[in-house]
């Protein structure tokens, strides 16, 4: 790791929450407009964050607090791995560790509502993990590498040969962003429920930690989507933002569905689409090797 890498890592550490927070603010405005409301100001997530931090610390046990820290640090690690152009599979495994930490935090106190959420969080991971890992394999087949650095240097846009993979990743994105119809464990917006599954036992500064982690997570997932068009990179970013907008739209026009339905969609449609894409690319050569 040289000097510029360190600078970049520091910049990424500082910028990701800023971008993530703004995106969440946008989400809230857009959602409000779709529901015929005006909605909060763009900076509302940051106000919320500051307010949460200022509250006094309350917890039913120290376990959830420990795991909340694990959730944050591991997600940030995954984000740093991305920024430092490391291995996609490693990044996804670390992200899985982070996701499991959130569930374990909810498990670590004997609260029925938190436990419900934790089991559902695990089901969500069961649904999206295969999609994300297989998407990395599909990217590898085109670029010949799992390293983000090599993917960034790959000249042909991946979207042209891997469109079905992107569709599958969108399903995973929906689950990861806790958006309808996949907001099984707890919805991203608090407006749908009073008792929010895994977050039931979190409050104040610890809840702020989790919000912060969500911002990192959002930026990371959108970053992975932007890999589908890296030269020029702004196209990829526009694609990622359009996907984000699409998720917000879907969130507002669908209702939460059963976990068994989510699992079926993830394992059949999600995995199936990527497999179909791989077969097309590998065996029929329709991948337009430029």
């Amino acid at each position: 790791m040289n000097g510029s890498d360190i600078l970049m890592a520091l910049a990424a550490l500082a910028l990701a929450p800023l971008i993530g927070g703004i995106l969440r603010g946008l989400d809230r405005i857009l959602t409000a407009r779709m529901q015929g409301r005006i909605g909060p100001p763009l900076w509302q997530p940051f106000y919320d964050f500051i307010k949460l931090c200022a509250k006094s610390k309350k917890a039913s046990h120290r376990g959830p607090v420990v795991w909340a820290w694990a959730y944050l640090v591991l997600t940030v690690t995954a984000w740093l791995l991305f920024v430092l152009r490391q291995d996609l599979l490693i990044l996804l495994f670390i992200l899985a560790f982070a996701g499991a930490s959130l569930a374990l935090g909810a498990f670590s106190v004997r609260s029925p509502y938190a436990h419900f959420g934790a089991y559902r969080e695990l089901l969500q991971m069961l649904a999206y993990e295969p999609i994300l890992l297989l998407a990395a394999v599909a990217i590898f087949l085109k670029t010949g590498s799992f390293m983000v650095g090599d993917v960034l240097g790959f000249e042909q846009p991946l979207l042209i040969s891997l469109p079905l993979t992107l569709v599958a990743v969108l399903i995973a994105l929906g689950i990861k962003m806790r958006k309808s119809p996949f907001d099984i464990a707890a919805s991203e917006h608090a407006h749908q429920e009073l008792v929010r599954g895994v977050y039931t036992e979190y409050s104040g500064p610890t809840l702020a930690l989790i919000e912060l982690t969500h911002w990192y997570e959002l930026v990371l997932v959108l970053g992975i989507i932007s890999l589908f068009w890296v030269i020029p990179l702004w196209v990829g970013i526009i694609i990622a933002l359009s996907c984000y907008f699409l998720e917000i739209l879907i969130d507002n026009i669908t209702a939460r569905l059963r976990w068994s339905w989510m699992l079926t969609v993830g394992w059949s449609l999600g995995v199936g689409l990527i497999l179909l894409n791989i077969v097309i690319v590998e065996f029929f050569g329709l991948g337009l090797r430029l």
Binding site: S56, K57, K58, A59, S60, H61, R62, G63, V65, V66, W69, A70, L72, V73, L74, T77, L81, Q86, D87, L89, I90, F93, I94, A96, F97, A100, L104, F107, S108, V109, R110, S111, P112, Y113, H115, A118, L122, L123, M125, L126, E129, P130, L133, L134, V137, F140, L141, G144, S145, F146, M147, D150, V195, E201, W267, V271, I274, L275, V279, E282
Partner: protein, 642 residues
Amino acid sequence: MTAETLVGVLVLLPFIVGGLSFLIRSEGLRKPFVIAFSLVMIIASLWLFLEVYNYGTLVSNPSPVWEYLIFAVDCLLIGYFLYVGITNKHYLIILLAAFQSVSFPLISLPFHKQVKPVLYIDLLSVIMCLVISLIGSLIVVFALDYMRNHEVHHRVNPSRQHIFFFFLISFLGAMNGLVFANSLFWLFLFWEITTLCCYHLIRHDLTEEALGASLRALWMNLAGAVALIIGIGLSLHNFDTVVIQELISSGVVGPALLLTLALFCFTGFTKAAQVPWQGWLLGAMVAPTPVSALLHSSTMVKAGVYLVLRLAPGFVETQLSAAIAIFGAFVFMVTSVLAIGQSNAKRVLAYSTIANLGLIICCAGINTGLAIAAAMVLIVFHAISKGLLFLVVGTIEQQVGSRDIEDMEGLITKLPVLSGIALVGMISMLFLPFGVVFGKWAGIQAASEPVTTWFFLIVAMLVMGSASTLVYYAKWMGRLISCAPDSSGSSEVKAPLAYGTLMALAVLAVGLSFLVVPLVVNVIDPAAVAVGYEEGFKVVGTALATPWGAFPVWPLFVAVVLALVIPALVVRLKPAEVSAVYMCGVNVDERHLVFRSAVDGHVQVETGGTYWTQWFDELSLNKWINAAGIVLLAVLFVGVVL
């Protein structure tokens, strides 16, 4: 001491010590004796490792007299199996043993060629030997404390420990012999001895369940041995050799050779309890815990994957290889899915073992340098973590009186040390900087390379299995760490030898993961090169790199320390910061989680685990899974012909 003496010690000493501990009936005498033996085994295996590491592959030709002895012992063993079948009126065992009693002399008596070399000990063999001798010995030491408690619990009088230790210790010798053998006759002998030891260890408690499980293990393993005999017969008939190294490096890969190798792999699958043979390993958990730990970690099932791995160079780039990879990936996926629906901790671990063995077999089938290295990494780390987890569950069972995950709720407050060790074991099976997942990562990287037409199916099954693994371990961890405010103080009984062993294994699991770079570069890669592959990994900076990926070990360790270790040490709640658990009603008694519900009654909160049995029900899924397993095994043999 010469290397050959060391080999003699590693193979014969366990039988001698086993026999002596059969004779020594006094526990007080047996204890120091067995501990000393374990130390000798560990030192001898390390020494042999260094010999082979420094001076290259060791070949050895013991005196031809041994051949007669081996023949005699083989006949005795087959006769004994026949006897077991007859006394238990188990017709399948009678049939299989009778077949062996006819076919074995038929193929071995006319064979008079000098076998050279009889023992072939390369790096792969000594890695296996280290795993067997180190982890196996630790488990034997653990058993010293465990078995005394076990007999107290079950009111066994007079003690039957001497029989137990005889088979437990001899097992190690048989396993060492198995991984050193280059002559198929020697391999067959040790194969049958492991079957015998396994049978006796499973039936040790003599309950009805134990007797049934032991007979099932016996017939399934005898079925595997039948395939082994047929394979040896084919090898003699077609190639006039019983030397493994000659067989796999003959250079001409034709259907005759592949059929022989397919039969041997089939034998390996039975021993590794792959679908549809998983029944015997699942049944084997009725045995005392050290047996499960031994069977699942360093011995028995590892013999099965060792055989497949040993033969892998013989079927590089064939349809057989692809079929084995698909089979292994399939087993990995389905057994991981089945484990989600299990609430019996030992059963969860058993499925996890079968899954990981499937992954190792899948890697052997992918059959590239990277895949073979990944398989070896998995063998080493899985043995440590799984041995640890079984011993932990056994200890929990002795202290809590149950092996059900539901009864482990909040164990972290009742048995903090033991639960802590259990968490370390599970995290080392499940999350990244640790060895098992590193092996899985390398396996997925190897599977992504389109070496066979069906690679995409293999990868898909691997990632789905991987996601399922996360679910069943995470929800088990969740039960362990679930804390109620009313939790009473710790009531842990810490037996020194048992806890010492657990600590040693936990330290080994974490420490070796930390040292994975030197381990892979100095041992695993050279071992893969020695059996004829190219290097799987290289070091780039501080990371361990494959041709298309990199695993930054130490940065990830720093991240995990920052994420988990430091918060766990630093975060403390002041009494004023503790609040009641939210119970969606008016809390009545916060310490005992009682609240006033809608109908005004007092309700005590209970939480339970979820197993989604409507989806992951073993009974309804098993017939499909077994059928698919049989079809895939059939494909294995059809693939040879094509």
